[in-house]
C-alpha cells in the first residue's frame, strides 16, 4: 500500500473513531478510549527508537511528563489553545530526545536503558521542586472555556488524541518504509556493518530519538486538561514506561502495526481490569504478559501470526531479548 493510501485509510479510521464516540452516551467509555489511544501514541513512539533501532528506552514517563507539565505551565502563564500546547510540547520533547540521545546513545544495551531511567528521575526531581506548577502538591488546571464544535470537553480531547494517534501511526509507517527506516533496521541488526555500508549511524539514531521523544511529549500535552489535576507521583507513574515497552513487545516491534495491536489489547484489558477487579492488578498482569512474550513469542503477536502460516520464524528482533542476550554474552 502506498503512503498516500495508508494516510487516507488512517484518517478514515480516525474519523470513524471520533464519529463513533459521539454516539456513546456513557462518557466513561470515551474516557477509557482516550487512554487506549494515548497508549497507541506512546507505544508507537517508543517503537521508533526501541523497535526500529533496538534501543530500549525506559524514559517514557520523562517525555510524557515534560509534555504534560510544559502544557500545564504554559496554560497557567499564557492560556494558549491545546493544539498549540501540543506542538510546543512536541518541539520541547524532540529537543530533549535529541539531547538525551546525544549524551547517551553511544552507550550500548543495558547502559543506555539505565541512562534513560535516570532521565525520568532527574525530570521528576525537577518537577517536584518546581513551585510554579505546584511542586509535590500538584496543580489544578482550569479547562479552557471555548469548545469548538464538540460540545463536551471530553469529546474535544478525544478528538485531539485521535488526531495524535493517527499522526503517530502514519509517522511510524512512513519511517518504516523509507530509506531512513531501512537505515534504522541496518543499525538494529549490526551497527558496525551499517557504518561500513555508509550509514551515518549516530545521526540516524539521534533523529529517531528526537521523533520518538517528540511524539511522547505530544501525547502528554492534553493530559492535564483531561485529568484537571496533576501531581508528580502519578504523572511519573512507572505504568507509562512499563506499558510503552510492553505494548510493542507484545504486539511485535518490526512493524507499525505491532505497537497498535499491543496498545489496543493491553490498554483495553487494563481499563477493563481497573473497573472490574482493581487498578493495582494492572501492572502485575502486564509484567507477566511481558515475561511470557519475551520468552515464548519474542516477535510478538505479529510474529506468532506469521509463524502460524507455516513459515520459518523471522529472525529474532525483540530488543529486550537482544539486550539481555548481549548482557549474558559479555558477562561470560
Amino acid at each position: 500500500m502506498s503512503n498516500g493510501r495508508f494516510i487516507a485509510l488512517a484518517c478514515l479510521v480516525g474519523i470513524a473513531l471520533v464519529a463513533g464516540s459521539m454516539f456513546v452516551t456513557n462518557e466513561y467509555y470515551v474516557f477509557a478510549a482516550y487512554f487506549v489511544l494515548q497508549y497507541v501514541v506512546l507505544a508507537t513512539a517508543w517503537n521508533i527508537l526501541g523497535g526500529y533501532v533496538g534501543y530500549v528506552n525506559f524514559g517514557t514517563t520523562a517525555f510524557l511528563a515534560i509534555g504534560l507539565y510544559s502544557a500545564a505551565a504554559l496554560n497557567k502563564w499564557l492560556d494558549l489553545p491545546i493544539p498549540v500546547l501540543i506542538l510546543i510540547a512536541g518541539v520541547l520533547c524532540g529537543g530533549v530526545g535529541l539531547a538525551m540521545g546525544y549524551l547517551t546513545i553511544r552507550l550500548r544495551g543495558v547502559y543506555f536503558t539505565i541512562a534513560t531511567l535516570a532521565l525520568s528521575v532527574v525530570v521528576q526531581t525537577f518537577i517536584t521542586n518546581w513551585d510554579y506548577v505546584g511542586g509535590s502538591r500538584g496543580i489544578y488546571i482550569m479547562r479552557p472555556s471555548e469548545v469548538l464544535v464538540f460540545g463536551s470537553y471530553v469529546a474535544y480531547l478525544f478528538f485531539l488524541m485521535t488526531v495524535l494517534a493517527v499522526a503517530a501511526v502514519v509517522t511510524a509507517r512512513v519511517i518504516e518504509r523509507s530509506t531512513f527506516g531501512f537505515g534504522l533496521a541496518a543499525i538494529r541488526d549490526d551497527e558496525i556493518a551499517a557504518a561500513a555500508s555508509g550509514v551515518p549511524v549516530l545521526r540516524l539514531k539521534l533523529v529517531a530519538a528526537a521523533v520518538s521523544g517528540a511524539l511522547m511529549g505530544m501525547a502528554g500535552a492534553p493530559l492535564p486538561f483531561y485529568l484537571t489535576y496533576v501531581e508528580p507521583t502519578s504523572s511519573f507513574s512507572l505504568a507509562y514506561t512499563v506499558n510503552s515497552v510492553a505494548m510493542p513487545l507484545v504486539g511485535g516491534t518490526t512493524s507499525w502495526l505491532g505497537p497498535v495491536i499491543g496498545a489496543v489489547l493491553l490498554g483495553t484489558m487494563q481499563q477493563a481490569m481497573t473497573v472490574l477487579i482493581s487498578s493495582s492488578v494492572n501492572l502485575l498482569v502486564v509484567g507477566v504478559l511481558l515475561v511470557i512474550f519475551v520468552i515464548a513469542a519474542p516477535n510478538g503477536i505479529l510474529g506468532l501470526i506469521r509463524s502460524m502460516g507455516g513459515k520459518k520464524p523471522d529472525p529474532e528482533t525483540n530488543p529486550l531479548a537482544a539486550m539481555l542476550a548481549a548482557e549474558k554474552r559479555s558477562s561470560q
Binding site: T179, A193, A196
Partner: protein
C-alpha cells in the same frame, strides 16, 4: 629511491597510511605501521594470530581511532572521517565473521550500501529501479541469484561469505579490505571465493587481502606485507617475503 621520487610516487597512491599506532591500555597493538596501496593493486597481508591485522583493518576503515599516524585515501586525509564517511569515499570492507543485516532480505542487505554509500557519494544517483538491478546483478555474480528474497539466516557458511563480499562490493569501493574471507572454507570453496576476488580486482578494485591460507595468499597477492606483534617486518614481492628469515622465524618460531 630519492625523497623526490618518493613524494612523486606518494601522490599516485590510493591508500597511504603512515606511522599507524594503536594502543589498548598499555598493550601496543600496532607500532608505527606504514602501509601503501596503489590503485588496482592486490596486496596480501599476513601475520600470526594477534599480530594486529584486524586492528589495522579497523583503523584504516575508521571503526577504531588511531593513537598516532596519518591515513590518506584517494589523495585526501581521512584521519578525521568516521567509518561511514570512509565507506562513502570508496573504502570498502568485508568482515572476518560475516555481519549480515539479519532481518533484511539479501536484496535489502545490498540496498543499504547502494542507498547510503553510492547514492550519498554525490554525482550519480541511482533510481529505485537501478538499485534493484544493481543488487540483483551483484547477488547473481556472487552465485546468490536464486535467494534474492531469502534472509541471511537461510544461507550456508560459504554463501554468507559471498553475501559479505557482495555487500562490501555494493559500496562500489576503489579499495576493498577483505578480512579473512576464506576462514573455515573447504578447498573448492576457497577457490570459488578467490576467483570472485580476482574478478573484482580485474575491474580495477584494489584489494588488501588478509588471510591465513598461504596457498591462497601466494596465488592472489602481487605484494606481501607481514605483521608480527604489531610491527611490520616485511613488505615486498611474495616470493622474496616468504624467503625472508625473520618471516620464517615468526611463523615457525625462532
Amino acid at each position: 629511491m630519492t625523497m623526490i621520487d618518493a613524494d612523486a610516487a606518494a601522490s599516485d597512491l590510493l591508500l597511504d597510511a603512515r606511522g599507524i599506532t594503536k594502543r589498548f591500555g598499555g598493550f601496543v597493538a600496532l607500532n608505527k605501521i606504514d602501509l601503501a596501496v596503489r590503485p588496482g593493486e592486490r596486496l596480501g597481508l599476513i601475520g600470526p594470530n594477534g599480530s594486529g591485522k584486524s586492528t589495522l583493518t579497523n583503523c584504516l576503515c575508521g571503526a577504531l581511532q588511531t593513537d598516532g599516524g596519518s591515513i590518506s585515501f584517494a589523495g585526501r586525509s581521512i584521519d578525521r572521517l568516521s567509518s561511514y564517511q570512509r565507506a562513502r569515499l570508496g573504502l570498502g570492507r568485508s568482515f572476518q565473521l560475516p555481519r549480515p543485516f539479519h532481518s533484511l532480505s539479501l536484496l535489502d542487505n545490498l540496498r543499504i550500501p547502494l542507498v547510503y554509500a553510492v547514492n550519498a557519494r554525490g554525482g550519480t544517483h541511482l533510481t529505485e529501479q537501478q538499485i534493484r538491478t544493481r543488487s540483483t546483478d551483484l547477488l547473481g555474480e556472487f552465485g546468490l541469484g536464486g535467494k534474492l528474497h531469502r534472509l541471511p539466516g537461510d544461507l550456508t557458511q560459504v554463501e554468507m561469505r559471498k553475501l559479505e563480499l557482495a555487500r562490501a562490493m555494493a559500496t562500489d569501493p576503489t579499495l576493498l579490505v577483505s578480512d579473512e574471507a576464506l576462514a573455515g572454507l573447504s578447498h573448492s570453496e576457497v577457490n570459488e571465493i578467490l576467483a570472485l576476488l580476482l574478478a573484482l580486482n580485474r575491474r580495477g578494485v584494489a584489494v588488501i587481502f588478509i588471510e591465513h591460507i598461504m596457498r591462497a595468499v601466494m596465488a592472489f597477492s602481487e605484494r606481501l606485507v607481514v605483521l608480527v606483534a604489531g610491527e611490520k617486518i616485511a613488505d615486498g614481492a611474495p616470493k622474496d617475503v616468504i624467503a625472508d628469515e625473520r618471516v620464517i622465524g615468526a611463523y615457525l618460531g625462532q
